[in-house]
Amino acid sequence: MKNKESHITGYPTYAYVLIILLALTTISVAATGYHLGAYTVALALLIASIKVATVISYFMHLRSESLFLKVAVSGVFLIFTLVIIITFFDYLFR
C-alpha cells in the first residue's frame, strides 16, 4: 500500500455531514406519522442505510481508504444481506 500523507478533512465538511444526518433523522421520525403500510419499514431502512453510508464514507474516511478496504466493507454488508435473505427463504415459503 502506498505510504500516503494522511488526508485531513476540514471541520466544515463534518458539520455539513452532521446536518444531513440530522435532516434524515427528522424525515424518518416524521414519516412514522403517515401510514404507509408495509413501505414504512422499507423507508425507515432506506433512510438508515443512507445514514450509515454517509457515516462510513465521511466520518470513518472510507472514501480515502484503499480499494481493498472498500471492497471488504461492501463485501461484509453483502454477505450479511444474503444471510438474511436466505434465512427468509425458509420463513417466507413455509
Partner: protein, 204 residues
C-alpha cells in the same frame, strides 16, 4: 513485557487501522445475529411488535440519536484537530464527545428505570403475561439496547484514555493511531444505533 529485545519492526500504522476495521466487521456480525432474530420475529408478530413499540418513548430515542450523531462528528473533528496539531481543540472535542456519550447513558438510564417501574424487565411477571410477540419485542429490546449500551460504555473508557494521552502528549500530530481507532469504534457504535433506532422506536 516481551522478550524481544532485538525487535527491529518499525511501527506499522496501516496494520493497526486494518486490524481495527476487521474487528469492526466482527462487531457488525455480532449485532447482525440480533438483527436477524429481530427480522424473523417481526415477520411473524408484526402486530404485537407494533403495539409494544408504541410503549417506547420516541422522544427519548430521537434525543439519543441526536446525541450519538453529534458525538460522532465531534470525535471525527478531534482527529482533524490532532492532525493540525491543535491540541487544545482536540482535548475540547474529545471531552465534548464524552459529554454527549454521558447524556446518552443518562437518557438510557431514565428510559430503562421507567420501564422497570412498570414491571417491564427481563423475566418479570408483567412481561410473561404479555402476548408472545410483545414479550419477544421487549426481550430483543433489552438485549439489543443492553449490548449497545455496553459498547457505549467501552467507547467511553477508550475516549477517556485518549483524553489522558493527548494531555500527556503521547498522542500527537505524528502518532494518533489510538485516537483514530477509537474514533472508528465510536462510529460503529453510532452506526448500530442508526439501525436500532427505527427498528425499535419507529415501527408502525
Amino acid at each position: 513485557m516481551t522478550d524481544h529485545t532485538v525487535h527491529t519492526e518499525h511501527f506499522d500504522k496501516e496494520a493497526g487501522k486494518l486490524g481495527m476495521w476487521i474487528f469492526l466487521f466482527t462487531e457488525m456480525f455480532l449485532f447482525g445475529g440480533l438483527f436477524l432474530v429481530y427480522a424473523v420475529m417481526r415477520a411473524q408478530y408484526s402486530e404485537d411488535f407494533h403495539t409494544a413499540a408504541e410503549e417506547l418513548n420516541t422522544f427519548i430515542g430521537t434525543m439519543n440519536t441526536v446525541f450519538l450523531l453529534t458525538s460522532s462528528m465531534t470525535v471525527a473533528m478531534s482527529i482533524t484537530a490532532i492532525q493540525r496539531n491543535e491540541r487544545r481543540l482536540a482535548l475540547f472535542l474529545v471531552s465534548l464527545t464524552l459529554l454527549l456519550a454521558m447524556l446518552f447513558m443518562v437518557d438510557k438510564y431514565f428510559e430503562w428505570s421507567h420501564e422497570f417501574e412498570y414491571g417491564v424487565y427481563p423475566g418479570s411477571d408483567v412481561l410473561k403475561n404479555m402476548p408472545h410477540g410483545e414479550l419477544l419485542f421487549f426481550g430483543l429490546y433489552f438485549m439489543m439496547t443492553g449490548l449497545h449500551a455496553l459498547h457505549v460504555f467501552v467507547g467511553m473508557i477508550l475516549l477517556t484514555i485518549n483524553f489522558i494521552r493527548i494531555r500527556k502528549g503521547s498522542i500527537n500530530q505524528e502518532n494518533f493511531l489510538l485516537l483514530e481507532n477509537s474514533g472508528l469504534y465510536w462510529h460503529l457504535v453510532d452506526l448500530i444505533w442508526i439501525f436500532l433506532f427505527p427498528l425499535l422506536y419507529l415501527v408502525s
